[in-house]
Subunit: 136 residues, 2 copies
DNA sequence: GTAGCACTTAGAGTTCAATCTAAGTCAAAT
DNA sequence: ATTTGACTTAGATTGAACTCTAAGTGCTAC
């Protein structure tokens, strides 16, 4: 069994956050020891790691709660849970795509600075356009 | 010249948000017409599009403000601005990488559900492990 | 046994980024 | 001329996700 701090370290979150998740109903499965302190099994740790994965990939706490609630309802909800994860998978792919598009724009801007610094008075180009082209 | 709503539509944000960015000092360059209404040039629009790109790729408003402040200081800050964008570029790459890692975990979980739904009592496997393996 | 520390709780506070509200201005349309 | 509607402002509110506080409990080491 792990303590709250061991889990916190393993998952790279704070003990505060674990208690917050518990309060939000994300950890209905954890048990307490004789002195009412939370104790975490290997299985609990794995679940919390998945929760962190979902959070870190942009799923909201309340959506994660829905997933956990489904888990607690039993194995007949497995197909629904699978659908939920497939939807989230699509959301992750969208995010990656958005980030890549923004990366392209930033790269163009960096390329502008490269040429601008080399030759500050280079001619106008829509993709280089920024405050350089304004009278301040 | 564009109105605030035209810019909002073009950038896929609200007029509220544009005023908020202005209040936060992100738009020190915009001018007003005779009736004190904001008017946006093509150059302004391009800057706001870059601001949206930076925001959408995770840069905080106050960091964007630093970038804009540098822009307003004149062309001698171009190298610093370039460095700032290169740092942000790294941040975007980190984000993409994190998302990809989380995508892998979600994919493994979906694969677990695929096999689990096909044969609910398949043997234990650490990567499939979740609430299925707990006594509720 | 008592000092120190890690834990517990409910609930308050913080931060970020909007988003909304209320009160008011302005110009065109009826 | 008055109504409509879009704009303006400062400042309040929202919502998400923590993060901290205060008060208290209980184990361990001296």
């Amino acid at each position: 069994m792990y303590t709250i701090n061991e889990v916190a370290t393993a998952c790279n979150i704070s003990a505060h956050t674990i208690r917050f998740y518990d309060k939000e109903g994300l950890l209905p499965f954890i048990t307490r020891n004789s002195t009412r302190k939370r104790q975490f099994s290997e299985a609990d740790l794995e679940v919390i790691k998945l929760i962190c994965c979902l959070r870190n990939s942009g799923m909201q706490v309340k959506e994660i709660k829905q997933y956990i609630d489904l888990c607690m309802q039993g194995k007949e909800t497995a197909p629904v849970r699978r659908e939920l994860l497939i939807d989230h998978r699509k959301a992750i792919l969208r995010q990656i795509d958005d980030y890549k598009k923004n990366l392209n724009i930033v790269d163009l801007k960096i390329a502008f600075y490269d040429s601008y610094i080399a030759a500050p008075h280079a001619g106008y180009d829509p993709m280089k356009f920024m405050l350089e082209n304004k009278k301040s």
